[in-house]
């Protein structure tokens, strides 16, 4: 029925099956929208956040999905700036995933602030000294870039492409995509970094604070680096997941291998830097403020040293080693395990840099603050995930996202 919209020569599942799936995910979206409306109408008392937990699940979700969405800028950077041409076979999907991640982040931010109607004050009354201002500007601008990168894809839809203007527009945008990609990379470098800076500049929070370079704490660079390392992993993860769901090979192994190898190198170097950073913080920064390393991992029922091991070893060293070994990359199970662990690793990193920062008591007469999100927070966090699945599903069905699909599935 919708075959006129499906790219020529590609096979898709039946429309009934497709929209049944969409409807199921749509139900989750509706649940999330209900929670979102509750929060907007009744206020943030619908959450379990409190005066010690001003930043919680949502901010983690933001940081997490932006790190995961980093595949878009870094793949773009590799494709357009470095000239890794093979990556054109996966860049489209990286852009779609990035678009979904960034759109989600913006939505969550819109729910998270106490006065959404005044959200634009962050632009208009900008405090250039705040990392959050930098985040907001770069994030919004980069989202604009992602939209620009996504538009030509949309315009490639069989029906839209028939319109000469759109065809020309898409063509022209393709022509100068390198400029957009370069701007995107520039913006991403700053907003990924400033997201790291958000925690690193908190000099009142010994768990978060880091020394750094000029105005940028080390977390600034670590976040950019980790986004570049772990973002492509998420692209590979979603690609592999899509292949499993559709039962089709969509991207050639050499492309996967190249991206995985680069991610492996980024991750390996990142994790070394992260270990050095942690070491320096534990032995110099924290003690100078009167804390021992274990102060941050004891006296509470949740945040033990396990979380650091999970982040650095399980979610960092192990996937990096797998991705760095040609054998690991060529084994599809190993590869999938590696990228999954990597995604978990970066999500743990973002978690501790938000939630553990809040949980750890700084004043000697306070105790650890532990927090469990309310269902409204969970629902609104799942909302963009469900929404993203729908966007990705629609994009896959109606747009020629994978240039190699036809070749691989004759």
């Amino acid at each position: 029925m919708d075959s006129a919209l499906i790219p020529k020569g590609l096979k898709r599942c039946s429309i009934g099956k497709f929209y049944l799936g969409i409807a199921l995910v749509g139900a989750v979206v509706l649940w999330g929208v209900y929670a979102m409306l509750l929060v907007w109408i009744k206020g943030l008392n619908q959450t379990n956040m409190n005066d010690s937990y001003g930043f919680a699940l949502w901010i983690w979700a933001d940081l997490g999905i932006i790190a995961l969405g980093g595949g878009a800028f870094f793949t773009g950077f590799l494709r357009y700036i470095i000239g890794k041409d093979e990556l054109k076979n996966i860049i489209n999907y990286a852009v779609v995933i990035g678009f979904v991640c960034y759109a989600s982040a913006q939505l969550i931010l819109g729910i998270d602030v106490g006065q959404p109607l005044r959200g634009w004050f962050i632009f208009w009354h900008a405090n250039v000294h705040s990392m959050l201002t930098e985040v907001a500007f770069c994030l919004t601008c980069y989202f604009g870039v992602l939209v620009i990168e996504y538009i030509p894809l949309l315009l490639e839809n069989r029906q839209i492409d028939k319109v000469p203007f759109f065809h020309n527009l898409g063509h022209n945008m393709h022509e100068i995509m390198a400029i957009f990609a370069a701007t995107g990379a520039f913006l991403s470098f700053f907003h990924q970094g400033s997201l790291g800076g958000v925690a690193g500049v908190l000099y009142g929070r010994p768990f978060a604070v880091r020394e750094g370079l000029f105005i940028w704490p080390w977390t600034f660079f670590l976040f950019t680096w980790s986004a570049a390392a772990f973002g492509p992993c998420f692209t590979l993860f979603v690609t592999r997941l899509t292949e499993k769901i559709t039962g089709k090979k969509l991207v050639k192994q050499n492309v996967i291998d190249l991206l995985a190898k680069i991610a492996g190198w980024m991750m390996g170097t990142y994790i070394i830097a992260k270990i050095i950073d942690t070491w320096y913080w534990a032995t110099v920064t924290a003690p100078s403020k009167g804390f021992t390393f274990m102060d941050f991992y004891s006296d509470n029922s949740f945040y033990g040293i396990w979380i650091l091991i999970a982040e650095i070893v399980v979610g960092g060293i192990i996937p990096a080693l797998i991705l760095l070994s040609p054998k690991g990359r060529s084994n599809s199970t190993a590869l999938f395990t590696a990228v999954s662990l990597a995604c978990i690793g970066v999500l743990i990193n973002r978690w501790v840099m938000v939630l553990q920062v809040m949980a750890h008591p700084v004043m000697t007469f306070e105790n650890w603050f532990l927090y469990v999100p309310s269902w409204q927070e969970v629902a609104t966090t799942i909302l963009p995930v469900a929404g993203g699945i729908i966007v990705i599903a629609l994009s896959y069905r109606y747009l020629p996202i994978f240039p190699q699909e036809k070749e691989l599935n004759p």
Partner: protein, 728 residues
């Protein structure tokens, strides 16, 4: 359908782009944020003319001067009055929240007549005329039956014009049953009577003392006039004076003292006598005291019965500490011993007061600088004698229902006995007036009190608020709150000199309320005859002006009148036989309950952040209560971690607290500052009346404890009760 897809799309995209470059979306965005900055449901306090009015706070007996900040005719803030002799600009949490009481939703807004069952909360608004004639009708009926003595009144205090108007009314009407809310002042008064033979209040020259030995008095927890004591405490700190606190719990006072000596609760009198023994043995006592009558028998008593070792055993304090404490106390140049547990809201054991007073006498500080003074009651109320008609003459000669003056000859009022007497059928009341008091909440064994009230056919409350007593009455004739009325406030809370403050209307009455002084006079006038004649004044204000005479102008001008030269009643201290008899028969107040079923001892503690008298905590004050005192809907019981471990109780978990008198669901707060085996519960929680900000929070300590009659005074001597704490 000739509109092509292309032109349609162009229209949409062009339209969107076109709108975006118009000012419309930007304007809407701006308007939305302006709306969010001016949400109509967020109040905008109106501006107006600013002014200050000085008055006196009546929310507790402390009698602090207040400066009330007004904007037009609205009270916006209450501050301490600078230069006021009691509080010198300082103020407490309750005084600061007085304006919340003024505008409180829990106020009784007009006279109310009960229509449902008592306590059901169904009321009918009636006019003042109806209300007055209702009371007059009822009282006439009772009087005509010759039962005038069966009308009683419960009043917050016995000094000042309002209590005296009530007293006068009962006298003219023909009843002896004028009852007041008990406090440690009752015990102190009786002590002065028995040991110095004077009718006076105890005043403490605290500021000039240099060694303060406190037997559980909450110096900074609300004892005496709270703000004045805070200031005295700071003065001591600044001048290096020492405070020793004796009590089983690390209270705020104990924590701020120079030395905290934990003691087995209830053995304070033994310690005082033991200290006396050491002082006498070391001949550190004053020369004067050794010449007082009965000294030798006192000496013999303490030497025989209160040897240091024995006292050590009784009190749990090691002998060396007792000896050294006695030495330091006696060698201080201006030592002062005080008692009255916590805020002194219960009278306590008379022997304890006498033992402590004897200690003061031993070091010769009675009526001396830095010591205990016998302060005469200020006698500005000089009304003509009441002409009693025959009914009245007969009535006032009847025995009081509470046994004060008969069974207990020294007592003036024994409200603590009322419940038992009424419930056991030994006495009865036909009608009861309650003003400035909330006995159904604040008397021990409040459930028994409620039962007693249930058997009184006609209960009239004059409360400004829908408190526990008001909501269980038949008729409410609401008084103005203190920011709306005139009243004289003679401050009695342990001050060393007579001070009268003037409470005055700061704003006009918010509701259809009446000064209780006017109300009582209207009732008298409605009754007619000699009762009406006893009240020759046109209004309460006229009465007040006439009563205060020349002081009135001073009061209006300064807000207070104080005795220019401090006066004391010069009654020589002696170990009079009556007192000695009592002291030698001394045995600690026994605790209700068996050790087997109630292995722990429950004591109350007072906090300045918890009002436990007539007034309940206003919203601001309850907000300031710590989460280790009130947690959600549960009061927290303090348990030593060792005891907690034995009982398997951990921090913050629910437990069930049982005493012989009642039970409550509480939360456990493990506290290193409490003696193992003892548990403590805050007073002032567990209201069932008032508003949602106070009602239903925590449990009322008074529901868990019963009164214990002091054998000499008849006053309530209970300081705790046996208890059991179990996991739930």
């Amino acid at each position: 359908m000739k509109v092509g897809r292309r032109s349609f799309l162009s229209f949409i995209i062009g339209g969107a782009a076109g709108t975006a470059i118009t000012p419309l979306p930007w304007k809407l965005m701006d308007d939305a944020s302006i709306w969010s900055q001016n949400w109509p449901w967020t109040p905008v306090p109106p501006d107006g003319e600013y002014s200050y009015v000085n008055s006196v706070c009546t929310l507790c007996p402390g009698g602090c001067g207040i400066s009330v900040r007004k904007v037009d005719d609205r009270v916006v803030k209450i501050e301490g009055m600078k230069g006021y002799p009691v509080n010198a600009g300082g103020i407490c949490v309750l005084g600061l929240s007085g304006h919340q009481l003024l505008y409180s939703p829990t106020r009784v807004k007009s006279p109310l007549k009960r229509v449902g069952k008592r306590g059901e909360g169904k009321w009918e608004k009636i006019s003042w005329d109806e209300a007055i004639s209702e009371v007059a009708k009822k009282l006439s009926e009772i009087r005509s039956k010759g039962e005038s003595h069966s009308v009683g009144s419960i009043v917050n205090a016995d000094s000042g014009t309002i209590p005296n108007l009530f007293k006068r009314f009962l006298t003219a009407y023909g009843s002896p049953n004028f009852m007041t809310m008990p406090s440690m002042q009752d015990s102190y008064k009786m002590t002065l009577q028995l040991m110095q033979g004077v009718n006076a209040q105890a005043g403490f020259d605290a500021e000039n003392a240099d060694f303060i030995l406190s037997f559980g008095s909450g110096i900074i927890d609300g004892w005496g006039s709270p703000v004045r004591m805070f200031k005295a405490n700071s003065t001591w700190k600044a001048n290096g004076k020492k405070v020793v606190q004796i009590e089983p719990r690390l209270s705020n006072t104990a924590a701020k003292s120079d030395k905290w000596i934990p003691i087995k609760p209830g053995t304070e009198a033994a310690l005082a006598l033991g200290l006396a023994n050491v002082i006498i043995t070391n001949s550190q006592h004053s020369q004067k005291i050794s010449q007082s009558s009965g000294f030798e028998s006192f000496k013999k008593l303490v030497q025989n019965e209160y040897s240091t070792d024995k006292v050590s055993q009784i009190t749990g304090i090691d002998s060396a500490s007792i000896v050294s404490l006695a030495k330091t106390f006696a060698s201080a140049s201006k030592p002062l011993a005080i008692c009255g547990r916590g805020q002194g809201s219960t009278p306590g054991s008379l022997n304890e007061f006498m033992a402590v007073h004897a200690l003061n006498a031993l070091v010769g500080n009675i009526n001396e600088q830095g010591g205990v003074w016998a302060v005469p009651e200020v006698d500005y109320i000089k009304w003509p004698e009441v002409n009693l008609d025959e009914t009245a003459t007969n009535g006032v000669q009847k025995e009081r229902v509470d046994g004060a003056g008969s069974e207990y000859p020294h007592a003036k009022s024994l409200l603590n006995r009322l419940a038992e007497v009424v419930n056991s059928g030994d006495g009865s009341l036909e009608a009861l007036f309650v003003t400035g008091a909330n006995p159904l909440y604040s008397m021990p064994d409040s459930k028994a009190m409620k039962k007693a009230f249930d058997s009184i056919p006609f209960v009239v409350s004059f409360s400004s608020y829908m408190d526990e007593t008001a909501s269980n009455s038949d008729l409410i004739l609401p008084n103005h709150v203190c920011l709306e009325r005139y009243e004289d406030v003679p401050t009695t809370a342990g001050l060393q000199k007579n001070i009268i403050g003037l409470t005055r209307p700061v704003v006009k009455p918010q509701f259809s309320t009446k000064n209780v002084g006017d109300t009582i006079m209207l009732i008298a006038k409605a009754l007619g005859g000699s009762i009406a004649e006893a009240f020759p004044w046109d209004s309460y204000e006229a009465c007040l002006k006439e009563t205060l005479g020349a002081k009135w102008d001073v009061l209006v001008e300064n807000g207070f009148w104080s005795d220019s030269n401090s006066k004391t009643v010069s009654g020589e201290f002696n170990f009079y036989p009556k007192a000695m008899e009592s002291l030698s028969n001394f045995s600690p107040v026994s605790l209700e309950g068996s050790t087997a079923s109630y292995p722990l001892v429950l004591i109350p503690y007072d906090s300045i952040r918890l009002a436990n008298g007539y007034i309940g905590d206003p919203p601001f004050v309850i907000k300031a209560v710590e989460d280790t005192v009130l947690n959600g809907k549960a009061a927290c019981v303090e348990v030593n971690p060792k005891t907690g471990k034995e009982l398997g109780l951990t921090e913050g978990r629910y437990a069930s607290l049982h005493t012989p008198r009642g039970k409550a669901k509480v939360k456990v707060h493990l506290y290193e500052g409490i003696m193992p085996g003892i548990i403590a519960l805050p007073r002032g929680l567990g209201h069932t009346a008032y508003d949602k900000y106070l009602a239903g929070k925590g449990c009322n300590f008074n529901e868990l404890i019963g009164p214990a009659e002091d054998p000499v005074s008849g006053l309530d001597a209970a300081w705790g009760i046996r208890a059991r704490l179990t996991k739930v």
